[in-house]
Amino acid sequence: MSANIGDVSAQPRPRLLRRDADTGLVAGVCSGLGRRLGIDPIILRVGFGAATLVGGTGLVLYALAWALVPEEGGRRTTVARLAGRRETWLVVGGSGMLLLSAMLLLREWGLWFSDAIAWPVLLAGAGAALIWRQSAAAAPAAAPPVPQRVRPDRPPDPFRARRLPTPALGPAAIGAALVIAAGLVFLWLNDALAPARDVLLAVVVVVVALTLILAPWWLRLVRGLSAERAERIRSQERSEVAAHLHDSVLQTLALVQRRAGDPREVANLARRQERELRAWLNGGRPEPGDSLAGSLEAAAAEVEETHGVPIDVVAVGDAPVDERGAALVAAAREALVNAAKFAGGGTGGSISLYAEVGEERTEVFVRDRGPGFDLAAVSEDRRGVRESIVGRMRRHGGRAVVHSTPGQGTEVELVIER
């Protein structure tokens, strides 16, 4: 057992003990255990079966493992899942009683190793399970902390220190106590303790005294360590924020000072920096590749940068980009370029892009407040709208409609069925 604990802490990413219901025969305890230990589950199954037939402990251990080990893919143990319901505690109490009476009955019938073995094995099993689960569950917490996003305009979070993984001693300590108790019970029931009793008493007294003396010092040490760790994480985050601000905001401010004579350029710089900073504060927008909303935002950012017209993007819902989605993004981009060319710059103000990704269709609206135009008067050679927007959408089974009124701006509506 101790070898296993050692292995767990030595591996960078320990494999947690999980029941494997897919390959398992009953609840997947043996196959999960076998996978973690690297043993053929058959051996474990035979072991459990034998322990069940001879003393009944196999059955008990199996039931415990079912209750305390979460299933593959699930995160909560059966106990934790059931404990959420009120009537569960009644069921647990009842099952405990039934289990106890069954074991007593087995004992009465003689289907029993002997008290000297069965009870210590049960205790040791429970203790080992606690320790083992603890070591496996605590290990990932020791991985380097994921840098959390920090908003520089807010005071440091006083709760963050408390959220650090504290050395979880509770269950592990109980487990250790159970295992030691099992050993003692075994020795005592086999009368091996009689000569050692006096020595044992002395040892117990010394241990208790030492604990009383050392406990406060040890507690202080633990607290000091966690405070130091919190401080280290905080300063790490601070230097990360500083590095980011240096690369982005300070650079832009320097550029702004040098181009102070060109208001248009300065406005562009400020706008681009704002977009970058927002994306960073929001923990990074979704990758354009997998997200329709992300792709539309990227397209808008690109047009905004090239043409120097602010574009407000509002997206509701999201979906992965397929072939049709890509066509939609390309058409929306063309509509944005048109809006920026013909409506931007002057009194037009900003361009709005609204995208709604629904279950049946995706709709995109690109609206500008430019001069607008008379649709009927558009000449045939204006290929921009006709080919790259209307034609493209039609080829992919969608449609594009242009609404425009002179003096009130233009809106391009793109619809594609999903």
Partner: protein, 218 residues
Amino acid sequence: MTATAPSVVIVDDHHLFRAGVRAELDGLVRVLGDAATVEEAVRCIVELEPDVVLLDVQMPGGGGVEVIRQVAQRRPVQRFLALSVSDAAEDVIAIIRSGARGYVTKTISGEDLAQAVRRVAEGDAVFSPRLAGFVLDAFAGAASLPPAEVDPELDQLSPREREVLRHIARGYLYKEIALRLGISAKTVEAHVSAVLRKLQLSNRHELSRWAVERRLVE
């Protein structure tokens, strides 16, 4: 109210920004005073009794949410319009659910801001395109509550409300929406106010999650 310009108190911890807003609103609304901290703001608002408070969302000491909470105990009729650089859902939804009647970003022009102040002073709601987008997102699909707890009056948008919100998200003004949908501007405002009420009172999971996330950070 429409005859005289509405009165305003500006609450923001950035001095330059307060001065800028004051200058932009000059002549459009009456600026009674300004405040830079939560305590100062509460004192100032209770004393001056403005029609509308222009409220920054992020301030030291609890931010705009805290100002609304404290003023509500002493002057429950006070109307707030949130004004922030942040466009994160947690910030927007949290301040609206605390009781603000609208949300605009700080890049808004002075004229549009004065228009928004007038609207809030008259008891209407002010939605930016992005806020409309958040609401549509939050109310999309079936309510994520157990069916017995879904209150259709609060947890779902009517088709007309949805249509109005989509137009706001597309960048249309209220009067343009009224024209397009063939209803009066007053009806558009009534729809938006109804949505605001749902936004503040609904128990939809998305809304409470956004609101709670922000409060934890404060």
